[in-house]
Symmetry: C2
């Protein structure tokens, strides 16, 4: 298993990536979920996205959600934006960490926003500059890093080249999105190794979906390779509306449960997190896919008297 | 990732462990599923169990299912039995590979059959002798090897001691059951290492449930440790009726999908296996938990024209 890290940093993405891909819920419910997550001990939360309400009605009330949320000390909050208008809204709302997205697959990028990956990278460079000028940090999320539903495999060298480019353009961090759950231990190894080989010197975060059951195997592979930052979504909320066949994100409580069992700290109180997952299930009104939400942690025993 | 094996042997347990833990389906349906699986290229199938029909009505027609099945050349079929009566039925039906179960947890064993683990090990020794006398091979399945829902952690040294005992008693193989999905990469490493350290010289097979999302991470850990035999259940059929909170078995197509992606052969035709999983879903009439059944393999692309 190699040397395991002592701490793994989880970014909770349920309030944004999760809820954005569920049926819309009321503003009040979003605030309740965000507040519950802020009390779990998780250190980072992707809180909202600033997107056009016609494109993504689930985030139409992002400003109000963020204004009403009880922000916790010691939690870093971020927002996702698709363009300059979104970045301006995020900055106006007071965010100091902002994410922008580009797809490693040309076809996927064109299908989503009708631009090539290279054209989007020019836009990203402009956004990074705008965010930095305002004193905020910029993370670039590279979607379809582990495969594209239209093209199939995406060359890890292409992914590494995108990382070089965004690092040169000043991005503070890069995240690799497993947009349609095509990541496997092999693909994780290939992408992480290709990026490492280029030595772009930029922090890396991985974002897995559990579409084909591999999310925790991918996480395990990545921490063996020294990656210590991951996205996860409470209860496994969400998916990707533009990606056919995609199912939910890696459930935060499944990630935390496995990591704690391995003696790796996350700062998260698993019991509080499971309560937040129960709340997410109540608020969305659908059965969420998380096994740890369903069965509880392995340490939850069955009373003999039953 | 270390040295990966070139071949991993999957035993398909859907017809027995799967169907035994679903609502009963007609004999004809069981035969159809068994025949479909025999055509997937999988090398081993757990076909039926010979248990008392009042205890497990799902297997009441085991003799007839087995008689009507079209057995494929090159496939090894096995049956599970709880006692001497079951072993006699399995032998009379022509089985030459038979599995018997004992629980590593005393409490779990007592709850199931009102005997201590040690008492059951005496029974197992008798069963192994009976099977050998009839020219059949005997596998001992050690349930709750990675944890007990009543006791919690089970000492890996205790598990290793049970392996010593059954090896001395002549068992041909031993399997470790993750009865309620308490296995994690850490527990897999501990159990496999403890057993290895005792050097009992007996082939080892692992049986995982995906109760808490860890099944493929456990599989990955085990193959890194050199284990090359695993149970899996088509579509993720089944669970464990005696184990509160347990959910389905590791889905065969999720295991095969990840292994093939790693360049590890299983002999299985994944497309045929997914068809069998679709059949399992049709026959049981419930949505099965397998992600690869739902989304298809990562190589199944989305047409751009859509």
């Amino acid at each position: 298993m190699g040397n395991m890290p002592g701490f793994v940093s989880i970014r909770e993405v349920g309030p944004r990536d999760g809820l954005q891909n569920e049926e819309p819920i009321p503003t009040e419910a979003k605030v309740r979920l965000l507040d519950a997550l802020s009390r779990t001990g998780v250190r980072r939360i992707e809180a909202v996205s600033f997107v056009h309400p016609k494109a993504i009605p689930q985030m139409a009330d992002a400003d109000e959600v963020w204004r009403r949320a009880e922000r916790a000390d010691g939690v870093r909050y971020s927002a996702l934006v698709p363009n300059i208008r979104g970045a301006q809204r995020a900055l106006a709302a007071g965010f100091t960490e902002v994410e922008v997205v580009v797809s490693a697959s040309d076809t996927h990028n064109r299908r989503n926003i009708n631009r090539s990956t290279d054209e989007s990278l020019d836009d990203v460079a402009e956004l990074v500059g705008l965010l930095h000028d305002a004193g905020a940090q910029a993370e670039v999320i590279v979607a379809t890093s582990f495969g594209c539903p239209y093209e199939g495999d995406v060359d890890p060298v292409r992914v590494a080249g995108i990382v070089d480019r965004v690092a040169r353009d000043g991005a503070d961090r890069v995240a690799f999105g497993d947009t349609t759950g095509m990541a496997t231990p092999r693909r994780v190894r290939e992408v992480v190794t290709a990026v490492r080989d280029r030595n772009a010197g930029i922090p890396v975060l991985l974002h897995f979906h559990n579409t084909r059951g591999t999310a925790l195997a991918n996480l395990l592979t990545a921490i063996e390779l020294g990656v210590t930052e991951f996205d996860a979504s409470v209860g496994g909320l969400g998916g990707c509306p533009y990606a056919p066949g995609a199912s939910g994100n890696l459930a935060t409580e499944e990630a935390v449960h496995m990591l704690h069992d391995m003696g790796i700290d996350t700062g998260v109180d698993l019991a509080a997190l499971i309560e937040a997952a129960e709340l997410a299930e109540e608020l969305t009104g659908r059965r969420l896919p998380s096994g740890v939400l369903r069965a509880g942690p392995r340490t939850r025993l069955t009373p003999l008297a039953s």
